[in-house]
Point group: C2
Chain length 424, copies 2
């Protein structure tokens, strides 16, 4: 059996997870896949990560040029993260004909269009199953299953940090700040949580998933993005009362040449399969014109689930010729495709108003004037001669809702618009 030599570039959590699987299950991979894989080099800034894991220092390598020049190394696992210097490193490796397996969604969302042609030109592959939804084989499925279907809609819970925070808010009644602090304590959120809680991470992944699902470039810069930092314990309580959970959802939809791509909190009906995806679990729910509804569910992150996806790509890369997607992810949406900004949704809206006659009517009139139809309204007295109003709307145009709220916020008797969350 031929020995395949590979390298790992960046020996942190995920790189270590891939290492564990490739070494711990080496016999299993040999017997079931017919592949004898040897980790021949590990690139990192220092030898410390190797020492910490008890890995022979002989594997240590501190030069990507040495990896690129080593004729024995067929493939490199990239688990450094970030865009710089990672992109330059990957370009060097692909140019040297080494296939690259990466978990790096930011890099891929930003530079897919530059990297894939380099891989193709040098006869090697660029694999990224691990970039989205941990060990769930969603990249493989979007590329190599239901190829006869036009995917119409895709809903993803694709960020573990925000799902953990929202799940904690939902189950334990915590505030956003309390839940974030717990997530940071348990290692589910970083010290600077911006990329997760503001929806950047989900937007990178949605760019990749939607580009594959809709067979066209959906640049991450074209994705409407709103994070979870404004979701309050009161919103969660209202959601429960109305029969919903609040999730950060990445939505992609294609109707002919119109494409919607957006990441924002969403009221999800409690009996929808996505509502019960909780904690650090992730899921992608999609609808094809023939296959109907499908859902793919699993751990969204973590050393071993993500490592599992990396190893899957390594096996694929070493077993078959590479394939290419050829979607330009260069920040320009395909000319034939319209990005829909004024999408249609249902809405949950909360506001505080003066508790006096005629206010509800004046607010409702503004909605009506803008063509926003109210499905249900709840008015409750609160402190200081004020009342809270909670509305659920029928499907309406985003811009019409925004115009309504702008006008309503200027009505004399309206104290504040407290919440506006879209509803599935």
């Amino acid at each position: 059996m031929k020995k395949h030599k590979i390298a790992i570039m960046g020996f942190g959590t995920v790189g270590g997870g891939a290492y564990d699987i490739l070494t711990g299950n080496a016999d299993h991979i040999r017997s079931t896949q017919g592949l004898d894989i040897e980790i021949a080099a590990i690139l990192d800034r220092s030898v410390e990560p190797l020492k910490k894991r008890g890995v022979s220092e002989n594997l240590f390598c501190d030069s990507v040029d040495a990896l690129a020049a080593d004729p024995d190394i067929e493939l490199v696992i990239e688990t450094m993260g970030g865009v710089r210097p990672t992109k330059d490193f990957i370009v060097k490796l692909l140019t040297a004909g080494k296939s690259v397996v990466t978990a790096n969604k930011e890099l891929l969302a930003k530079h897919w269009s530059e990297l894939e042609p380099i891989a193709r030109a040098h006869g090697c592959g660029l694999f990224f199953e691990a970039s989205c939804v941990g060990g769930v084989p969603i990249i493989r499925a979007l590329g190599e299953s239901f190829q006869g279907d036009k995917v119409k809609r895709l809903y993803g819970i694709i960020n573990g940090t925000t799902n953990y925070i929202l799940s904690k808010m939902s189950s334990a009644g915590l505030s956003y700040e309390q839940a974030l602090a717990q997530a940071q304590e348990k290692g589910f959120a970083e010290a600077d949580p911006t990329s997760d809680v503001e929806g950047y991470d989900a937007a990178y992944k949605l760019s990749i998933l939607a580009s594959l699902a809709f067979h066209t470039c959906i640049p991450y810069t074209s994705i409407f993005r709103e994070g979870i930092t404004k979701v309050t314990a009161r919103d969660i309580a209202n959601a429960h009362e109305l029969g919903y959970e609040i999730k950060l959802i990445a939505i992609g939809a294609r109707d002919g040449d119109d494409v919607e791509a957006r990441v924002h909190p969403l009221f999800v009906p409690k009996d929808h399969p996505l509502a019960s995806v909780s904690g650090a679990y992730n899921a992608v729910y999609l609808n094809g014109d023939h296959v109907g509804d499908l859902m793919f569910y699993g751990a969204g992150a973590g050393a071993h689930p993500t490592g599992s996806a990396i190893v899957s790509d390594v096996v694929r890369a070493l077993s078959a010729p590479p394939t290419y997607c050829d979607f330009r992810n260069d920040g320009k949406i395909d000319g034939a495709i319209n990005a829909v900004g004024d999408f249609t949704s249902k809405y949950y809206i909360g506001m505080t108003v003066e508790d006096k006659a005629g206010v509800l009517s004046r607010v409702a009139t503004v909605f009506g004037d803008n063509g926003v139809s109210i499905r249900s309204a709840i008015q409750r007295p609160c402190a200081d001669d004020a009342a809270t109003l909670v509305f659920l709307t029928h499907a309406a145009r985003e811009h019409a809702v925004m115009r309504s709220l702008d006008t309503i916020s200027k009505l004399g008797s309206v104290g504040s618009i407290d919440a506006m969350i879209r509803v599935l």
Copy 2:
């Protein structure tokens, strides 16, 4: 672009679904997959099915030998079903070098080991994504994802008919007979429902899924099988009260060389993702040693979901060289593997006893003598000086529970053992 000519063999519901997709989405398949596919022949017993669908009678073919001899036909979709004469037809086609795409789980479970070597010998492929779980790409996932993982457990709701019946019993309080009648009325159950309700269909599929998941032959004849015909409305009510749903579950588990494979009703905790898979939906939940828990969910059957899986296989077959699984499915479990009959489970047990002192104690003593530990017991009076006893046990050996029930049924004060359902 080269035109690929293919044929459909058996133009019923599923064959018609595949036809709809291949013709209706032909442009989409051309532009996204680079494949120009023409349905050049349709084999059936008469031309009627073609007429009924408004398909040109010129496509009609009544001879498999003609298909096998036609040098232009690259691939045949088999949607005839059954084992005879289907198997002979497939052998002729494979021998002639035509790849075969099939939805036929019974044929595959029974004759995989004979058919695959013929395909391999003649350089063509045998594809069967559509054989299990409709349009859900579970065959592809088991073969080509998480290859670095040892799959430890697999739980499947893989029969739509029984899931529909049990869901109706659960949501509408119907008896088994009422729910079956509704399922038959709506076309979810056949006039003779035996294959579905007695678990044969699920056992065929489990044989395929478990063989792929565990990389060894799991013949359907080695699968422990119990259907849903004995599940009563009272069992469902008891399940709800205890926090469970009842589902027909196909279970595969591998621990070293020990393999369990069984199909039977199962109490599933309400917060488990499988509990909310209802109606005609199917799902496969599995656990790998690194990827953790995954779930694949979607329509389990139907012309278009199953047709979608067929078209996916057609695209695969026409795009890349075939791959082979090489698991002997010839009715003999791999010599290195032990089929575990005396598996371990938790149990729900219901019985009717005389309502007098000491009965509960005598019954509990029998369980204790057999090493079966009781987790909870409920005694309720019912008519005629009788009482019902409901037990939930801790994990126990199947054979120990059976021995206990045998002894208990012979106790003077025990009227009947009414239910024994395993618990997840």
